[in-house]
Every structure is written in structure tokens, then in C-alpha cells.
Symmetry: C2
Subunit: 419 residues, 2 copies
């Protein structure tokens, strides 16, 4: 299967991009080549690498707007957890589909997920055609978070290494997973060539508790038990000492910045400049829709930059181009996928931007406009793994997904009211 | 002229809204009334008051993306001012039209403007049908910012009190307008029943300079010269002492919170909670597109809330409903327009929200979704002053405005390069 993108703007020039199977085969001017499928950008669409969401909880999109403006403890213990206990596999399936629909519509072609319903999420992601890393969650206090359960699920997946959807091992956090299980996770991930995906140092309390229990700060603790490597995605990473930042840099782990969630839950401010100083790979994540409340990485880029500028009292901090890289190139590096850039030989994960959108008018600077002015609505077409998943803002099955998701969310609330 | 909005969701119920001339005449269920025009929401569109942008520089939309990530001094003195010196009335006209197009598309029906080209902006706003307060700018170092010039322009406007577009007096700031001229502005505004619109305490430097020059902080200084009243909109109001907040509360002046601009220029964090504590009327503004970089009040609402949550370390700060009020009801109060709410007798400034948009799915909470999940793209129809300005996301003349604005922005950059 060949797909030809004609007359798209790439780095300021009108180019053609030939895609063969899942790869970018050739980039040039006026490519005179045959292809089964074609999209003509007519010089009015820019081609960008598909964005990469390095941390979300897809199924929780069903909870969007369900509980906002509450203190963290109330939000989690009285609102989210009771609802999650009512969530069926069928709910998780439609919640995940809704999340993927939203991500594709707003230009995300890869996501890194952590949720209870890994098996269901695998099915939903494969059906939708998006690239995904689905986390098998470890969590001490639940039977479906045990290492036995994770191992069982892992072993019974026939297609577990078939791109574009594969698995990761996701210990929830250092305060919900024992040292023994963290070490098991690390060994299991190493043996099976899987990434490790963990929440880390999201709140100040987590650091204090860790100091009390282990006489070490969270990163020091993880390093001591040999957990850290370039296979790790450390999500949030807000409350870090200079020494911890140095350790992360040396171990070459990636950190995931989730500005909207960090602001909305009042978790704190991600130490972007210091991490950058230590040459740490910084990626971007939306977190789940229950704490954001959308999955739009364009909006996330603006928050990512503006929060750093005001926190550092420096309008030159976290400039647009650098932030674009956190949402694409750096994410690809962290997830070890050969994407995040439009180059021959890379995976064909490409989004087209409609340059006629008002957020891109008058068009003084494309990168500035994308980061500071646009929402994900500027995306017109999405290609993932060489396949067209969205064309002129239309995705097959969109109405059904929305309808079914609404039904499940309504049922969940009814069940909740009956408690 | 009568306009009937059928089957729109208003406060959770399906209602009809009858508009006669510029007013909301009647609200009820199944209104069986004749009307020349009709919009049927089919139970799938929610009606909200049109949003009110209390501070912008419309014509500067032409500069969107032209200069980002620079230190404030470089941004202003080396980038923005030299470009402004090249700006013709024709440029300002198309820049203003582009701004109004963007505001209407994202659900703003009123805006409060401050820019050089008041006469041109008046024309553009009247042509587009939006409600606007156009500022006559006072600025000591420019002949077109003199009181004589302002008075001349004011006097030659035949329609200056004809709604929906009227004038304000806009002294640029305390550091660019002399005490004498500030007092003149205040008296002129009082005599002619105009609002006063001024930048205030945007940077810490402004406060320090004021203390050095006047031995008073900015609000104390303005109060001493009798400037403050309920006719004032004090824009930014970031660096305020407790005493200044108390004075603003006593004088019943309104303050305008511009979170994106404040973050992007690293100006500081607006003291929302303290101003709320003093019962000050807090409104919302986007500032100009050169420092935001869009005019979307939906996005601004999310920034307004999330910035307060993280700054106050409190996830319950600036909750969704309160932030909605800053963008509608409070703005109407500040601008003294009988709008900002959908009630019989109010001006018919109404926007319809397409509830099928993914940012509103599954629809657990409309207000939460609007503030935390949506961008202005969820707006489908706009009615201002009783007239339909946008229908199913289409505005008459949109393509021409974008085309002409692009032409002017390109010319400006060419002129700039020749310097």
C-alpha cells in the first residue's frame, strides 16, 4: 500500500511525501509517483509529526467533568474511586474509544497509557489504528494489580509485540507498590524488553512519606533498588531535589510533564529548566480527562510553556520550538518508537494542519501559532502507521463512539447514585 | 424583527427564547410564537450568554506569532513598536476585522479595546455587528495620544452613543500619562458618561517606579488624584498591596484578569483570591494577540482557573462557575451593558454551544466542560444585539477577512525588513 501526500508544507516548503506500508519512503518536490491513495494539501496544509501523549488514563475520559474543584483527597476517595469500582470492561472499552477519538482528532498519533483495563484498551486501540503503549498496572492493594495477574495477562496476549499497539509494565507509584514488586517489575520489563511507566513525586506528601519510610527521596529510593534506566518514564516528577535531577540525568530516564493536571490538582510546578539543564529527556502528557479535562496536546503545549515562563519570571523560558519537541521527538525517544520527526525511514505518523484556520492567521510563524494560538482543532488529517485515520476532520464511527460513551457515563452515574 | 431560538438547553432544561429587536423578550417551554427568523437547537445546543472580553488590542491580531519568547524590553522596543510605526489605518482596519472574526467564532459578543486606531476600529466593529467599547488612547509621548486629539476625535463622532459600539477614554498607564492628563481623562469621562480603561500594576517595575516618583503605590496614587470610581477598568492589577486591594474594593472599580498574557510575558500572578475577598468585580481579558496569542475566552477561562489553583496550592480555588461569571456577568457589570445573563429584558447577546462536540462528551457537567475541556470551537451560533452573526460556525465574509489580513501582515513584515 502506497500513500502520497501531495503539496504539503514541510519546514516552510511545499513538498510531497510518499508513504509505503508503515514508513515514510521518500520526501521531495513534485514526486511523480504512483500511489493507491492520495491527499492533496494544495499548499494549504502543513505536515507535522503526529504528537505523542506520554501519560494518560484513556478509559477515564468517561469521567470528564464528573468531579472538579474538589480537594485531592475528596476527589480521589469520594468521587473517582467509588465510580471506578462500578466501571465494567464494557464501560472501559467505550471510554478508551472516546479517548482515542479525541486524541486522533487533536493530532495525537501515539499514547502511553496506564489503567486497570489493559486487555480492553488493547482491543480498543487496535480497532482504532492509533499507536499505543498499554500499561499493565501493578498495585499492591488490588488482586488485579498483583504480579501474578500482570504476568498472566502478559503471557496470554498473542500479539503483544505487534505494532502499533504494545505493552508496558506500569507500577502505579512508590507508595502503592512494594519494594519487592518494584524490583520484580524492573526485572520483568528487562527480560521482556518492555518500558516501565510510573507516577513519581507528584505531591510533596509523597516525598515526605518516602523520606520517613525509606530515609531517601523517591528518586534516590528507586535508584537504590536499581529501578532507574533509560527504559523508565517518570510521570509528573515535580518535587525533585538537585541531586535527584542529577540521578535521572545519569540514568537517562525520561520525565513526563503534565502541566494541566499539575495545575488543576495544585500538585506543583515541574522543574523544567533544571531538568533541561541536566539534559533529561522531557516529554509531554495530558494525564487523564478527570484531571485535565481534555486530551489535546496543542493546549497542553501552551500550558507547558506559559507555566514555565511565569514560574521562572522569564518570558524566554520554554520557547515554542523546544515545547514542540517535548510533544513529538522527545516522546518518541522515551517510548522508543521510530517516529516524532518527518524523515525518510521514519514511521509514517503524520498530521496535517489546516493553515486556513483563524488561529494560524495571518501566519507570521507556524511554530508560534501551533504552540501559543491553536487548539487541536487545527488538525485536518491524521496518518498513523501509514494509514489514514482522519480525513478532513472526519473519523469513521465517531457518532457511534460518542453515543455509546454517553450511555455508559449515564449508567455509571445512576449506579453511583444508588450507592 | 423577531428571532426565535427553539429547543435550546438553558440551565439544564429545553427552552425557547424569543428575541425582539435587541432584547430577550420571552423565555419559556414550547413558545408558540411567530418570528421572522428561527434557529432550532433540537435539544443539542446549549444557550449561554455571549462572552465579554474586557481587555484587548484588536488590531494587533495582525502581529500574532510575530515576536514570541523574547525578553519584555526586546519584545516591545525592538519588535512590536517598530512594527506599529509602520501600521497604516488600512492595516489596522483588517487587523481589527480579523480580531472580531476570531472573537465571534469563539463566542465573544462584546469586547473592550485599547488601540491607536479608534476611528478605524469603530468602523470595523460596526460593520461586523459585535458589541464593543473602543478606547480613545491617551499617551503623553505621541501627538495622537494628546488630550486635544482625543477630544477632537470624540467630538467628530456622530454616532458615539449608538449601541452596540461606543467609546471609552483609555489612558495607557500611569507611567505614560501625566498626572494632569489622568485628571483631565477622569473629568472628561465623567462629563461624557464614559468608562475609563487603563493598564495598571502589570509589572513589579511599574510599582517601584511609582513609589520612587510619587511616594505612593499605583492604586494609592490614582486614588489620591481622584481617578478611581466604578467607571474604571484596571487591567492586569497584579502587583497590589492589601491596602490597594481594599481601596479598589471601596471605589468599586473593576479589575481585568489576563492570565495568558500575564504568564506569557512573565508579568506575575493576579491576586484573584484576595480581590475576591474584597468583593472586587473581577472580569476576564485576553489582551492582544501579540501576547496571548489568541482571543479565545474559553481557553482564557481554563488558564484563569488553573493558574490560581497551582499558585494558591488549592484545587478548589477559582472554581468553574465562578470563572464563567468573570467571562460574562462580571464583564457586563464592568462595561455597564445590560447583558452577561440570559433573562427576559436583557440584551440579546447569546451564543449556542454544540453539545455534540467531543470536548463536551460524555457531558457529565456542562460548566466544567466549558471551562476545563473546551476551546471556543464548541460555539456553533452567535447572536449579538438581536442579530445572528454566526450560524453553524459560518460568518459572512470570513474568507475575505483572512485573505486581506494575510496580505497586510506580509506587507508589514516586508516594510520592517527594509528598515
Amino acid at each position: 500500500m502506497k500513500l502520497l501526500l501531495k503539496n504539503v508544507i514541510l519546514n516552510g516548503e511545499k513538498k510531497d511525501i510518499l508513504i509505503e506500508k508503515d514508513r515514510i519512503k521518500k520526501i521531495g518536490k513534485n514526486l511523480d509517483l504512483r500511489a493507491e491513495e492520495k491527499i492533496d494539501g494544495k499548499g494549504e496544509k502543513a505536515a507535522l509529526p503526529g504528537l505523542i501523549n506520554c501519560h494518560t488514563h484513556a478509559a477515564m475520559t468517561l469521567f470528564r467533568g464528573y468531579a472538579d474543584d474538589f480537594p485531592l483527597k475528596v476527589w480521589l476517595e469520594e468521587k473517582i474511586w467509588p465510580l471506578e469500582r462500578k466501571l465494567t470492561e464494557d464501560d472501559a472499552y467505550w471510554g478508551t474509544k472516546l479517548a482515542i477519538l479525541e486524541m486522533l482528532k487533536t493530532g495525537t498519533t501515539s499514547f502511553n497509557d496506564m489503567y486497570w483495563s489493559a486487555e480492553t484498551e488493547l482491543v480498543a486501540a487496535r480497532e482504532m489504528g492509533i499507536r499505543a503503549k498499554i500499561g499493565l498496572v501493578l498495585l499492591d492493594f488490588s488482586p488485579i494489580g498483583s504480579k501474578e495477574y500482570v504476568e498472566k495477562i502478559f503471557n496470554c496476549q498473542k500479539d503483544k509485540t505487534r505494532e502499533p499497539v504494545t505493552l508496558t509494565i506500569s507500577p502505579h507509584s512508590i507508595y502503592t507498590v512494594s519494594k519487592e514488586n518494584l524490583i520484580w517489575a524492573k526485572n520483568f520489563a528487562e527480560k521482556n524488553k518492555l518500558l516501565l511507566h510510573i507516577h513519581l513525586s507528584e505531591t510533596e506528601k509523597e516525598v515526605k512519606d518516602c523520606l520517613r519510610k525509606h530515609k531517601l527521596r523517591p528518586v534516590e529510593y528507586l535508584d537504590k533498588i536499581g529501578f532507574l534506566s533509560q527504559n523508565c518514564l517518570l510521570v509528573h516528577s515535580i518535587w525533585l531535589s538537585d541531586r535527584e535531577i542529577k540521578i535521572i540525568g545519569e540514568r537517562k530516564s525520561s520525565v513526563v510533564y503534565c502541566p494541566c493536571s499539575n495545575m488543576k490538582l495544585a500538585s506543583g510546578i515541574f522543574p523544567y529548566q533544571k531538568l533541561k539543564g541536566a539534559k533529561v529527556n522531557i516529554c509531554l502528557g495530558t494525564d487523564g480527562a478527570a484531571s485535565n479535562n481534555n486530551l489535546d496536546l496543542f493546549e497542553e503545549m501552551k500550558f507547558a510553556s506559559l507555566l514555565q515562563k511565569v514560574a521562572e519570571k522569564d518570558p524566554t523560558a520554554a520557547p515554542a520550538l523546544e515545547i514542540c519537541e517535548t510533544a513529538a521527538k522527545n516522546g518518541a525517544k522515551a517510548l522508543k518508537i521510530n517516529a516524532g520527526e518527518i524523515k525518510e525511514g521514519k514511521l509514517a505518523d503524520i498530521i496535517l494542519i489546516d493553515l486556513n484556520e483563524i488561529c494560524l492567521t495571518p501566519g507570521n510563524n507556524l511554530i508560534s501559532d501551533l504552540v501559543y494560538s491553536c487548539s487541536g482543532y487545527c488538525v485536518s488529517d491524521v496518518i498513523c502507521n501509514g494509514k489514514i485515520l482522519m480525513r478532513e476532520k472526519k473519523i469513521a464511527g465517531e457518532e457511534e463512539i460518542k453515543r455509546e460513551a454517553i450511555k455508559r457515563a449515564d449508567n455509571l452515574k445512576k449506579k453511583r447514585r444508588k450507592l
